[in-house]
């Protein structure tokens, strides 16, 4: 259910890969002598790193290294953090029309917990989780439903569509813009310890 950084990862991996590829191939081309005609420094026998010790001894070198290190840390950490799956849940839902008479607020998990509970009452469903995205006026629902292996996934989807969704829309007061259902299959046949007594 949670969102991963697929696009971001692929984009940066491509960029970094390209840079490495160009550097590596470039060096090999120079080493092979093919680039000798372009510039004397690119001649096969030239020493490209001449003056390395001199550069190292420059007074600004340590500062430059610290700056580069800081940039790398910033980039590396933010990229790592971005790998954490995100919920992107809806913010507090607002049900009031005129704030001057008073606001009516409800946190999104209160609603999605109720929907998940409803789904769990369906036959063959062993567990369910729900997530509301968007806002109260443009709500999107995502469900993750664990279904017993003997059941037909399609039947559970139909039951959700016919029974669960209309109730959710009745409570929310607004139709969903989109609904996603992710089915996982378990071998369990019993729901968690709950007994309904009328």
């Amino acid at each position: 259910m949670r969102i991963l950084a697929g696009g971001l990862n692929r984009a940066w991996l491509t960029v970094i890969g390209l840079v490495l590829l160009v550097l590596g191939v470039g060096w090999l081309l120079a080493a092979s002598g093919l680039l000798a005609s372009l510039h004397p420094a690119l001649d096969q026998e030239a020493a490209p790193m001449r003056g390395a010790s001199g550069v190292l001894d420059q007074p600004w070198m340590p500062a430059a290294m610290i700056v580069v290190a800081a940039l790398l840390i910033l980039a590396g950490l933010s990229w790592l953090v971005r790998q954490i799956p995100r919920k992107r849940q809806a913010p507090t839902l607002r049900f009031h029309e005129d704030a001057r008479q008073g606001v009516t607020l409800m946190e999104a998990p209160v609603f999605s917990d109720a929907v998940a509970h409803d789904v769990e009452e369906l036959e063959h469903v062993t567990a369910a989780r729900a997530l509301l995205r968007g806002s109260r006026s443009e709500p999107e629902l995502v469900l993750r439903v664990a279904v017993n292996e003997r059941a037909d996934a399609q039947e559970v989807v139909d039951a959700i569509s016919e029974r669960i969704l209309p109730r959710a829309v009745e409570a929310l007061g607004v139709p969903f813009t989109d609904v996603g259902i992710e089915i996982v299959v378990t071998r369990q046949s019993r729901k968690s310890d709950r007994v309904r007594v009328q």
């Binding site: 009031h96 008073g102 009516t104 109720a114 009452e121 059941a151 009745e170 409570a171």
Partner: protein, 142 residues
């Protein structure tokens, strides 16, 4: 007959005479007492709306037991004869939350004004939970 400014029915003992005015402790004491009374009235009215439930116990929102039979938690601020209310309640699922809360707002405003003699200007509602179904709810089967 109920009088908001004395905080209790009729006679009994009066606190020792002090200079009157908004800052005097007797006035403040009366104000706090009046707020609590309005809170009780409001909670009672809210719980009488069939699709509303209350909360009880717990600390900082954790461990709070959602109890459809209990009275909702109300807090009132009285400024003069104007009251602003803030309620935390539960609503039956799948009743329309917008409709039920608006109903609470209207009825509560009316009844509190009737019973406590204060004008209710604003009622903020927080829906803390949704409880499933009346006793007559059918089982869902595939």
């Amino acid at each position: 007959m109920f009088d908001a400014s004395t905080g209790g029915p009729g006679g009994g003992e009066h606190p020792p005479r002090e200079p009157d005015g908004p800052a005097s402790s007797s006035h403040r004491g009366h104000l706090v007492l009046a707020e609590k009374v309005v809170e009780k009235i409001a909670a009672q009215c809210a719980s009488e709306i069939t699709e509303v439930g209350g909360t009880g116990g717990g600390f900082l929102g954790m461990g709070r037991q959602n109890d459809p039979e209990a009275r909702p938690k109300v807090s009132v601020e009285l400024t003069g004869a104007i009251a602003t209310l803030s309620i935390e309640l539960g609503v039956r699922y799948p009743a329309s939350i917008a409709r039920v809360t608006q109903q609470v707002r209207e009825e509560l405003g009316r009844r509190v004004t009737e019973l406590a003699g204060v004008q209710v200007r604003q009622i903020d509602i927080r829906v803390g939970y949704l409880h499933g179904g009346s006793p007559a709810e059918e089982r869902t089967l595939l």
